[in-house]
Amino acid sequence: MSLLAFCEWLAATGGSIALHESMYMYPLVESTHVLALTVFVGLAVILDLRLLGLVLRTVPVTDITDRLLPWTKGGFAVMVVTGILLFYAIPVRTYQSIWFRAKVVMLILAGINVWVFNNRVFLRVDEWKLDITTPKGARRAGLFSLILWGGIIVAGRFIAYNWFDCDIQPQSAFVNWAAGCVVPPPTP
């Protein structure tokens, strides 16, 4: 089963239709998704800015990872659950959205960024946790994180707009390719 066929099957399930057509559930889930952003990205930004030596300079980096990161993770869990529900409500259009696809790519990159940070420079955090100017690897991780989550927020917001939707043709060949649109060949 192709991913598109899976999304089409998902869109035909009762739960997806109910959520899509609900008067209050969908806006409520979307509002939760947006508001949890303040907890998740907001607190992630605090850590990123600390890694860049721009906020809470006298607070050891480990205090932030020990005491704030659990809240960041809690916010992330809410983002994931509500995000999956939002996809579930509108599977096909979302799957064929270039913004959603860009968001997924950036999410993967953000995940890799965390993995590299945890398995490289953070292993030696006791050596630099008090430093205002953290090691290059830590600063790079903070900067990448800020850029990627910023991009994820913008791409996520743009999913709501239909400029590049598959059912709005003609689109450029690049958009049709990137969005995975199924376009009938032009009739001669």
């Binding site: 806006p27 607190l43 906020v55 607070v59 989550w149 913008v154 917001r157």
Partner: protein, 157 residues
């Protein structure tokens, strides 16, 4: 009485310029959202501390002082992007209950943040001030939550 004023606001060139573009509203809105994330972090880290959560082994005064430029900076961006968004749909906002809820909570939140909350973060939390500071933190969270939630709801109405 206010409606003609809102109609006039919407007729100004800035609002009309945004309406005439497919891209401007979403782009400004995205910046509004980016600043929301920063504002959230700057408020949360201090309010959590007031509630005895998060960075509780550090001084309230110090965390508030460090967070303050980011709080003020994020607020400036929020207002600088929020005003044009409003100007592009002032009449819709006039009829939106969510908009009026947001403006009420925003006015209260701004006054509260720069008076009561600012004072509460100037004193170190010791036993007899900790409970008062926790109340301030909870009120701050409630006010700003209302601003954000009703702000999101403007888009659904």
């Amino acid at each position: 009485m206010l409606l003609p004023f809102f109609q006039w606001l919407e007729s100004l060139w800035l609002g009309q310029f945004i309406v005439s573009s497919n891209w401007l509203f979403p782009v400004i809105e995205s910046v509004h959202l980016l600043a929301l994330a920063v504002l959230g972090g700057a408020i949360l880290v201090v309010d959590m501390r007031l509630l005895g959560l998060g960075l509780k082994n550090h001084a309230v005064t110090q965390i508030a002082r460090e967070a303050r430029p980011w709080l003020v900076g994020a607020l400036v961006v929020m207002i600088a992007t929020g005003v044009p968004l409003f100007l592009s749909e002032a009449v819709k906002c006039y009829y939106s209950q969510a908009f009026w809820n947001k403006m009420t909570a925003l006015a209260l939140g701004l006054v509260f943040t720069f008076t009561v909350r600012a004072r509460a973060t100037e004193t170190e939390s010791v036993r007899h001030t900790a409970r008062r500071q926790a109340v301030v933190g909870a009120l701050s969270l409630a006010l700003w939550f209302t601003v954000a939630a009703s702000g999101r709801w403007i888009g659904f109405s």
